[in-house]
Structure formats: C-alpha cells, structure tokens
Symmetry: C2
Subunit: 210 residues, 2 copies
C-alpha cells in the first residue's frame, strides 16, 4: 500500500465524509472538500463509494445505525415507568452528547428528503413506539400517573432531550455560554428533565381509581 498513514483509505474517506456531511449537509458538502480532508485523490471517493449520494447514504446509515437501535432498546427496556424515564433521559442525553452534531444533521436531512430518510430510517428503527405508549397508558389506568395522552408525553420527553442539541448555537448565544458551559448545562439536564417530567405526571393524591 502507498499511504504512510495508518488507517485504510476507505475508512478515512468515511470519516472525512462524516465530518463534512454532518456539518454542511449533502447539499452544502463538496466531494473535493471531503477528499482534501481525507488527504486523498477525489477519484478515490468514487472508487470506493461510486457517487456522492452513495457516500452520503453510507454516512447517513452509520449515523442512524449508531443512534436508532439504542433508542429503540432504551424505549423498549422493561423497567418501571419512572425509573425508565430517568434511565432513558440519562442514557439518551449521554449518547447525544457523544454525537452532538448528529441531531441537527438528521433533522436537516429528514426535512430535506423525507422519502430517502424513511427508507433508511425504517431499516434501523423497526421497533415501534407501541410498547412505551402502552406502558404509559397502563400507568395512567392504574393511577400511577395522572390522566394524559401517552403520545403527548412521549413526544414531550423526546423534545426535552433532543431540542437543546439542535438549537445549540441559539442557546449558547442567548445565554452567553461557551463550550464548557453548554456541556455543563446539558449534563444538568440529565437529572433536571426526569425530575421535571415526573413532577408533572405524578399523581399527588395517591388514590388509585380502578
């Protein structure tokens, strides 16, 4: 092999592609830029991935494959509701912190090209939300939590976890945070969010109505 660098070309391409695509999206990304970043000839991109779209798909699939199965797993784990909300929030925010540009990337591409998005998405996210929804409904029925629409609660949880990552520049700007302050802010949320949610849905008058 020619390259003096340790990693294989294909892997280096994918890594550069990830960085560029995550940051600029498929429309904003340039094949030349990806090649430059990987320090290889542009033709190599096509040699390994045939086209820009295929390369993008590989990147996208990797992002999806990294996040979605874990979300599914968290959502379907067998756990009492409150503990699950705490567990989910903590683990999910940790996961997003470790991949903090992915949410904005996914949201952008989803809105850009929903058709393609769901083709890939459904491949990794076979698990449906019914289990969690059912669990919430059961908790309502048993009077463990106040009456509410399980779907709304589910989406509330997701909103609270994901939104700050998507709106990160805005939040940092408005509240005058630097990188460190933002990380700190996010870490606090791991505990704040479940507290916020559980506070809201707890049935204070502990009478079970059934």
């Amino acid at each position: 092999m020619k390259s003096t660098k340790d990693k294989k070309t294909e892997e280096r391409i994918l890594e550069s592609a990830k960085r560029i695509f995550y940051l600029k999206g498929i429309d904003g990304a340039r094949m030349q830029e990806i090649a430059d970043e990987a320090e290889i000839n542009k033709a190599m991109l096509h040699y390994y991935f045939r086209s820009k779209e295929k390369l993008f798909d590989a990147v996208f699939a990797e992002a999806a494959g990294l996040i979605l199965p874990k979300v599914s797993e968290l959502l379907n784990s067998e756990m009492p509701l409150f503990r699950k909300i705490e567990y989910f929030t903590d683990k999910y925010i940790t996961l997003l912190s470790e991949n903090s540009v992915i949410p904005a990337f996914v949201i952008r591409e989803m809105n850009n090209n929903p058709t393609k998005f769901f083709r890939i998405f459904n491949k990794y996210f076979s698990v449906k939300p019914e289990i969690f929804i059912k669990q919430i409904r059961k908790a309502v029925d048993e009077g463990e939590i106040i009456p509410l629409d399980p779907m709304q609660l589910h989406i509330n949880i997701m909103s609270l976890c994901i939104f700050p990552f998507i709106a990160r520049p805005l939040i940092m700007n408005i509240f005058g945070m630097n990188e460190k302050a933002f990380v700190n802010f996010i870490n606090k949320r791991k505990r704040e969010i479940p507290e916020f949610i559980i506070n809201s849905i707890t049935n204070k008058s502990n009478k079970k109505h059934k």
Copy 2:
C-alpha cells in the same frame, strides 16, 4: 408593465424564493427553480436582488422579522407567570402553525452558518431573555413554584413548543399521522404543554418560604 399577472415581479420573486429556500435551504435551492416558480426570467432575480445570497438574506430577514419580534413581545409581556406560560404557549404555537416550515428552515440555516445567522438574528431579537428569567426566579423566591433553574425551565418551554415542528415528518411517520391528525395533535398541545409545565413546577405544599 408587461406582466399580465396581478402581483409585482419583485414580490412574486420573494414569494417563490421563500417557498424554495424554506423547503430546500440556501444550498439546495436553485436560482433557476425560483425563477421558474415565479414564472419570470432568471435575470430578474439578479435585477431585483443582485445575488443568490442577497435574495436569501431577504427571505431570511423576513422570516426572522416575522417570528422573532413576536416571541420577544410574548416573552416580555407583563403577566403572572402561569398565565404567561399559558398565553405564550398558545400564541407561539399558533404563530408556528401559521408558518410551520420556518422552524426547520431557521434551525437548518442557523446550524449551517451561525455567523450570518446571528448577524441577522441580533437585528430582530434585541430583547434578551433576562426579563422572563427574572420573572421565573422571582416566582421561585416567593415560593409560587418549586426551586428550579430558570434557564432550564425557559428552554423546556421552548423545546416543547418548537420541537414537534422540526421533527414533524418523524412524528407523523412514527405515529402514523396524516396532515390533519398532525394539526390536531399540535392544537392539543396548546393546552397540554402549559398543563404539563405548570403541573411540574407548581408548589403543591403551599407554604411560602420567605
């Protein structure tokens, strides 16, 4: 004037540009496409707006000018906290419903080019969040609500309102909604969100500690 159409060319360009830019972002949009949609010659785009970027700026500024002042106004309105949360949520969601593609658009462009974003943003969003933050802090101090970080609460409110618009295709897909069901879902949130929040932050043991 030549055109048989009622509206002036400049306005028609802006409207087409809005539709295209909102949907595809600055990178995904094509000047030719905007011209086609407006049913005018591509040169007219440059005649009226000089460049793609200037045209985009006009669109972006209009979107910002449409949303941001109203948000500022809502956030700074003088109202008791609970009523304000209810009022804000209702009015803000209504506003976003009427401009339902703007959130995803703004988020995309913000993450694409934060520098430019905040140049325009700060022009329209001069009002800072301090007033609302202070109001929350006061409510905490007076024992009206439980102890909490005002910033976290503020961001929770925003998350709950905005996120569903950004993640709309996802939500519709996962929960099998059609257009109508989604509108319905959003409308319900106008009441669900403030209830959710107020439930969470209300001091149930009504002893004021001061």
